[in-house]
Amino acid sequence: MTRDLSRPILLAVSALLAAMIVLPVGWLLVVSLTDKEGGATLANFVALFTDPTFVDPLVTTLIIACSVSVICCLVAAPLGWLVARTDMPLARTVRTLVMASLVTPPFVGAIAWEMLAAPNSGLLNQLWRLVSGMPADEALFDIYSLTGLIFVISCYTFPYVFILVANALDRMPGELEDASSMLGAKTWQTARRITVPLALPTLLAGALVAFLQALNLFGSPAILAIPAGFHTLTTRIWSLFQFPPKPELAAAASVPLLVLTILLLRAQAMALGRRGYAVLGGKYGAPRPIRLGWLRGPAVALALFILAMPLFLPYAALFNSAFSRVASRIVTPETITLHNVRFTFLELSSTMPALKNTFLLATASATLGALLALLIAYIVARKAVRGHRVLAFLATAPLAIPGIVLGVGLFLAYTRPPLALYGTLWILLIAFVTIELPAAYQQLGSAFHAVHPELEEAGRMLGATQLRTLADITAPLLRSAVIATWCFIFVATIRELSAAVILFTSETKVLSVLIFDLKESGDVGAIAVLSLSMVAITTVVIAAANRLHARPQVRPAT
C-alpha cells in the first residue's frame, strides 16, 4: 500500500500560502515602520499625512471610488434586470458582450478613450465640431479630468456589478414574484416590492466591488490623471518608486490602501452573507420574464448604448489608430497604412520577448494557480486538515492586497536573501498567482459545493488516498470549473499591470508593461497594435477553452 502523502502535501500548501502572503505584507509593514538607518519610527506616516502631495491623492481617490461605485450600480442594476428578467431582444448577446468587455484591460480602455475624447484631438470631439460647428478650442468631452477618469473607470468596472446582479436575478425564485402577481400586484409593484429588495444585498456587494476596483486601479489613473495634473493613491505610490526611490514612504502609503480594502471586504462579506435568503430553499421554477411590450425597442437600444462605452467605441478607436499614421485622424482607404503593424512586429525589439514572457507567465500562473486553488478548495470543502479555516482565510486574503501594494511588498521581500528573486520571472509568477488566487479559490470552492462528498467517500472506502480520490474522482467532476478557472487566471495575468510595473526588469518585461512604456513616449500606433493583439490572444484562449468544456457539464450530484 502506498503511503498517504495527503497530510504532508496539505501542510506544505498551507506553509506556502502563509509565505506567499505573510512575506510581502510583513516586509511592507516592517519597512513602513523603519527609518533610513533601520530604527523603528512612525515618521513615514507622519510625513505622509502632513504632506499635501499625499493627502490630496487620498481625497481624490475616495471621490473617484465613491462616484464609480454609484455610477456602476446605476448602470448595472437596470441592465442586469433587463437581461435577466425581461423579454428584451438580444438579451443573451448583451450578456455575452458585457462579459466580453471584461477582456479589455482597463489601461487599454483608458488609452482608447484618450483617442476618443481628448479635448482637442479626440475623435468624438472632432465629430461634434463637424456636426454642431462648435469652435476649435472648445470641447464636448475632456477625458483628462476627474470626471473623465471616473467615466473610464466605470466603463470597465460596471461589468463586475452587472455579473453579480444578473446572476442573483437569475437565481431569484420566480414563485415569489408569481405569488405577488397572483395577489393582484401589478408588474411594477412586484418589481418594487419583491425583486428590488431581494436584489438589494447583491447590489450593495456590487457597489463595494466597484469601490474596491476603483480604489486599487493603477493603469487608468496613470494614463488620464497625470496629464490632467493630479495623482491618485496608486499613481502616487508608484511615483514614490521613481527616482529617487523611497520604498519606506511607498510602503507607508500602501498601508491606508490595505486597511481600507480589508474593511471594505468585511463590509462586503456582511452584505453578501445576507444574500442567503434570496436563494435559500428547494427547487424553484425558472423566473418568469417580464413583458416589456413597446419598451422592448428602447430597452435594447439602451443596452447597446451602454455597451458602446466599454466596447464598440474604444475598439473602433483602437482599430483606427492601429492603421493610421496619426491617431487623431480617421483612416480612409487612401491613408490606411500597415506602418504600425510592421513597426510593432518587425522593428520593435521588445515585442517578441514581451510576448514570450507574457505567454509563459500566463500559462504558468494559470496552471499553478488553478492547481493550488483546487487543492485549497478541496481541503476546505472536505475539512481535510485541522485548521482548514485558516487556509480559506489565507487563500482569500490577497483580495485585500491591492496589486500595487503587493508589488511593493514583493519587491521588498524578494530583493534580499534568501530569495533574491527580483529580476527573474519567478517574482512575477508569485505576484500573479497571489493576486489571482482568491478569485480562483472562490470559483472552485463553490464548484466543490456542487459535488456531494459521498462520491469521494466511496473512493476512500475502496482504499484510495485522499489525493488519489481528488485526482480520479473529484477533479474530473470539476473539469469545467477547473478549465474556467484556468482561463480566468490566464486572462487576468495577461492584463495585470499594477504589480508588474513595480516588479519588472528589462529582461522580464511583459506585454502590459510594454504598452505602458509606449504610452509614456506617446507611441500610440504601436500601442493600438499591441492592445489588439493582446485582446485577440485572450479571446482565442477563451474560445479554445470553451470548446474544451463544451462537453456535458457536471450537474449537482444531489
Binding site: 490630496d56 479635448p119 482637442n120 526611490p245 499614421r325 528589462s506
Partner: protein, 353 residues
C-alpha cells in the same frame, strides 16, 4: 536596510567639483583610442547580442539598431527605451540587486554619466573617432563616455491652430494667459531632456516662470518625445518643451508643426553614451559604442533622426536651422547631478504631479 545609491551619496563621496560640462576628476592618462578591429567584431559576434538602454525616441532607436545589425550581422541589439530618468532609476535598482542587464547606456541627462562614473559603474573605452573628431567638451577625459547625441529643447506650435504672427517668440510670451489650456509639456521625473531643461530654465528664468506656466492648465505628459506628437495630433496648440529632433522629424513627414527657438535662449541637451563596467557583453558593447560614434552613424542620427552631432565631420541638415545660429542656454550637468532631487521636489510642488 541596504544602502541606496543616490546621487547625493555618490556626490558626498566625491571631492572634486569644478566648472565645465564634464567636470570629473582626471585619473591619469586617458585610455588609448581603439579601432574597430576584425578581432573585436569576431568577439562581438561570439557574444551575439547586447542591451542598449537609451532614452532616444523609440522609432529612431530601432532604426539605429537596425543599421548596426545590418552592418554587423550576427550581433543583435536589444533596445531598452524609456525616459532617461526611468532608465537611471532602473539601472540603480537593478545594480542594487546585482542584476547586470545593461551593456551600453545612453542618457539625455548628462548628469547620469557623471554619477555612474563616480560610482565606478562605467568602463573606459575611447573609440578612435571620438579621440580624433570630438571636441574636448564632448568626451570624458578618462574615456568613460562621449556625447552620442546633441539636441535642443525648444518651444513649438501647431501651424493649423496657431498663426505664425501669433506664435510665442519667447518664454515670456509662453506664460501669457491666452495659452490657457493649450500647452503641453513633458516631465522631468521621466525625461532627461526635460530634467536638463528644467535646471537651465529655473536658473535663468527663475521658478516664478514655472509657477506662471502651471496656472495655465498645462497638459502634463511624460516623455520629451510626446509633446511634439500631441502637437501633430492637434491635441494641444503649443508645446513648452520637448525634443527638437522629434518636431523636426514630424515636420519632415509633413505634419503641421513649427519650432520656436525662444529669444531667451534654448536649453541645450547633450546625451552621452558609455559602456557599463559590468556589461555582460563587453565586446558587443565596444563594437556598438565605437560604431555609434563613427561619422557614418552620427550622420545617420542627423539624416534620419534630426539630431545634432559633436562629430567634426558630420554635416548639418540643410532644412534645419544651423546649430551655430541658435542661442543656447548653458548646460551644467554637474549642477543637475547635485540638485536633481530638489529640482523634482520643486516641480512636484508647482505642477502637482
Amino acid at each position: 536596510m541596504t544602502r541606496k545609491l543616490t546621487r547625493r551619496h555618490v556626490l558626498a563621496a566625491s571631492v572634486a567639483t569644478g566648472a565645465g560640462a564634464f567636470a570629473t576628476p582626471v585619473r591619469g592618462a586617458p585610455p588609448e583610442a581603439q579601432k574597430i578591429t576584425p578581432a573585436l567584431i569576431e568577439a562581438a559576434k561570439k557574444e551575439g547580442k547586447f542591451s542598449w538602454y537609451t532614452s532616444v525616441d523609440l522609432a529612431l532607436s530601432e532604426k539605429v539598431a537596425n543599421a548596426f545589425e545590418a552592418k554587423y550581422p550576427g550581433v543583435k541589439v536589444k533596445v531598452e527605451r524609456s525616459g532617461a530618468e526611468r532608465n537611471y532609476q532602473r539601472i540603480g535598482q537593478e545594480y542594487q540587486n546585482k542584476i547586470y542587464n545593461c551593456d551600453v547606456v545612453n542618457s539625455s541627462d548628462a548628469a547620469h554619466l557623471i554619477v555612474w562614473k563616480r560610482a565606478s559603474m562605467l568602463a573606459p573605452f575611447v573609440p578612435e573617432e571620438v579621440a580624433q573628431y570630438f571636441p574636448a567638451a564632448h568626451r570624458d577625459p578618462d574615456g568613460m563616455f562621449a556625447s552620442w547625441r546633441i539636441t535642443l529643447c525648444p518651444v513649438a506650435y501647431n501651424t493649423k491652430l496657431v498663426k505664425v504672427e501669433e506664435a510665442p517668440k519667447s518664454y515670456a510670451d509662453l506664460v501669457d494667459p491666452k495659452w490657457m489650456g493649450k500647452i503641453v509639456k513633458a516631465h522631468p521625473g521621466y525625461s532627461g531632456t526635460i530634467m536638463t531643461a528644467t535646471q537651465q530654465l529655473s536658473r535663468d528664468l527663475g521658478w516664478a516662470w514655472f509657477e506662471k506656466l502651471a496656472k495655465l492648465k498645462v497638459m502634463q505628459v511624460q516623455s520629451a518625445t510626446e509633446p511634439p506628437k500631441k502637437l501633430a495630433q492637434g491635441e494641444r496648440a503649443v508645446m513648452a518643451d520637448g525634443g527638437e529632433y522629434i518636431v523636426e522629424e514630424l515636420k519632415t513627414r509633413g505634419e503641421p508643426v513649427e519650432i520656436v527657438y525662444p529669444t531667451e535662449g534654448t536649453p541645450l541637451i547633450t546625451g552621452p553614451s558609455g559602456i557599463m563596467a559590468r556589461a555582460p557583453n563587453p565586446n558587443a558593447s565596444r563594437l556598438f559604442h565605437a560604431w555609434s560614434m563613427t561619422r557614418e552613424a552620427q550622420q545617420l542620427n542627423i539624416d534620419v533622426g534630426a539630431l545634432r552631432s559633436a562629430h567634426a565631420l558630420a554635416k548639418d541638415r540643410p532644412d534645419m536651422k544651423k546649430f551655430s545660429d541658435i542661442k543656447t542656454l548653458r548646460e551644467e550637468p554637474d549642477v543637475v547631478a547635485d540638485q536633481a532631487d530638489a529640482l523634482k521636489a520643486q516641480y512636484l510642488k508647482i505642477f502637482k504631479v
